[in-house]
Symmetry: C2
Subunit: 456 residues, 2 copies
Amino acid sequence: MRDFFDPDGIMVIGASSNPEKIGYVVLESLKNSYMGRICPINPKGGEILGLKVYESIEDAPQCDMAVIVLPASKVPDAVERFGRHGGKAAVVISGGFKELGGKGAEYEDEMVRKAREYGVRIIGPNCIGVLDTTTGVDTFFQPRYAMLRPEKGSVSVVTQSGAVGIIALESLAKSGVGIDKFISYGNKADVNEIDALRYLMDDDATKVIGMYIEGLDRGREFLDVLRDVSKKKPVVVIKAGMTAHGARAAKSHTGSLASDGRVFIGALRQHGAIVADDLENFLDLLNFLSLQKLPEGGRTIMVTNGAGPCVLTADWIGRSPVVRLGHLSYETRKRIEERLPDFVNVDNPVDLTGSATPEWYDKALDEIEKDESIDVIIAALTLQDEGLSGSWEELLNILPGRKKPLLALASGGAFTEKVSLELQKAGIPVIPFPRRVVATIEKAVEYRRWLEKQSI
Amino acid sequence: MRDFFDPDGIMVIGASSNPEKIGYVVLESLKNSYMGRICPINPKGGEILGLKVYESIEDAPQCDMAVIVLPASKVPDAVERFGRHGGKAAVVISGGFKELGGKGAEYEDEMVRKAREYGVRIIGPNCIGVLDTTTGVDTFFQPRYAMLRPEKGSVSVVTQSGAVGIIALESLAKSGVGIDKFISYGNKADVNEIDALRYLMDDDATKVIGMYIEGLDRGREFLDVLRDVSKKKPVVVIKAGMTAHGARAAKSHTGSLASDGRVFIGALRQHGAIVADDLENFLDLLNFLSLQKLPEGGRTIMVTNGAGPCVLTADWIGRSPVVRLGHLSYETRKRIEERLPDFVNVDNPVDLTGSATPEWYDKALDEIEKDESIDVIIAALTLQDEGLSGSWEELLNILPGRKKPLLALASGGAFTEKVSLELQKAGIPVIPFPRRVVATIEKAVEYRRWLEKQSI
């Protein structure tokens, strides 16, 4: 697996000089970030993007890895020749294999046979491949102007669907959540979610794993690996094909047979997976878990300069079986009241009112973080209000480093997004909507409880 | 009520020359957009932002409207003097009234007495006031750099919470949804949600109404008005204080006593309200209803260039009691297959694959919109893929103007947001996540069914 992330040299088999072709964009992606040797292969030879093009695999210097963008019928032969020439790992971007059935399925079987024979591991086909923010491996055929690449971070994503992977990667990039590795495995002719999980378990750069799964072929084995990994680091799963409708759509997508939804979700949870409610929850959990420690329980306090969003949040807390409205101790309330103006309402939320400045948050948080009846803090921020907008930089010192897990609830336009990005960089996860904040806390607490059970 | 939106002259009572004070920011907001006469009032006189400051209300020329930003104790007197001087409508931004109890409640009662005596209508206190994108009335104390103002459109928003109003307004502005009027009524000492609804019912510029409600005092009357309005235009409601937790938070926020959640929601629905599931759903519904007609039913078809997001969408459809996976007729399938490459999978979703260009969507939609077994279309767009990113402008001609309601599912970074904004301008609502797309369709269909029952 390591050859996919840190290869000595990469061939692009099927490189193209036409900027509208995948064989061009992939080369461009690699050239933009990968520091090693890049060898485009195309029978026409010449030069593309300033790189010498080799007329055949055999003409090129040996490379550990290849990105293959040829038509399906030509892939088995390319894999054989790449293997004979010392290649170890191939990402097959092309579609037209098992997902189409008929001839396509035959090509896929033949490709796998060749790969086994010549010792080549394969990711794909029908995928967008691999990203490694350390080594710069980037096999995406999405041009950079159309798709942000994330910064380096500690989240790794494993996905069966390229399109969902793109949404995850770009949404995380946009909100300032860093990525370590990304694997889109598509038809998983060879490398599958089990291989990926095993590899990431021992990968120190990966602190949190996110997985999008449609179907599993070796469920038992997957669950065993899942439990091992979950003991070491959180695995957030979004499972598609949960309902009969979804399962049918999954089948025609990646040819995967989705298992019965609820039974399978139960099994995932029992083996430690954090099963996300929806795509937003998946992204929020990766964000939160990469930045904050796990809450010891669900007792939650809100601190705010605008109460409305907290009323909505309290409603979601009221619906959660895990998250609860925390009650500050009498001493904490008294100390907060002493340190802040009379009209501040110290309840849950602690309503600092629209006059609040970052300093007021500081005073309230100083007391709250000492209170043993509270497990987690929501800092609700109406950043548009003058009290915060005028001195938002102070929040970067005030919110991070608290003794309890803390997340911010903030939502708005360009200014709020700018401040949110800075908060993220300072280690504060910012989540834009009440439902999503509560769902994040809920799943994090459930995972903590699972971990506690394992150590008994 | 009209004097709040189209007044002849506006006083800012409590104007300040200190840019950190609300009395400055409100003046700045007005000056930036209101074309009529603006009269700052401050005993110090002088000039602020190039405007002559009057030392007293009596010194200033008569104005229909006032924005009052004085401490609570001084507001009753200001209302009296404003009324004596010919004033008709006052927005009281200041807090420190009923929401604090004690003295504050007394000030509020006195203010109302004076208002009734001198014929002044009041919005607030403890609110952010009014925005009208036609006349430029803008009483917000959120500076423009920190808060986007929306463009002119057909959605009007009525909100008890200023902070939720800000989130709604900025989120809508950011996604290109235009606003007509906005009313934040806070403690609703005088003007309440019933007055606002009645006014917007006959306001031709308002096509869709969004309301955030914490508590209602005159529930029966509200429901009667709601039914009348809902027959003319959609009213999307987000109700906070639904659970015991939320209700408690609401009480300490605006002093409103929230009614029992489920019973109340049932009554709202019976009277035609579209009750949003959450804040995202609230925003998405305002977006969708302002741009597209109501679906005749829930039979939904997805057209996509990346199947994963559609598998997740199909799951949400599977969970919905209203939305269903539509089945294309045999003839439609055949015609789409004839017009598109072999590897396109014509099922639900119609999977055009990652090679799809806008032209392929055009061909598929041409056939789908004629199919009587389909009520609504989801165009799922992985805009990051070269096939779309390279010629996205064509989508602006291809997606709008279809015979059936259509919404786009697209999610990503800066490029996707840019394209989404253009799609919105062209009349296509873009919703970023699968759950939200399905929830939008669900509520729109339910409203259509309610409307049908009314005409029997």
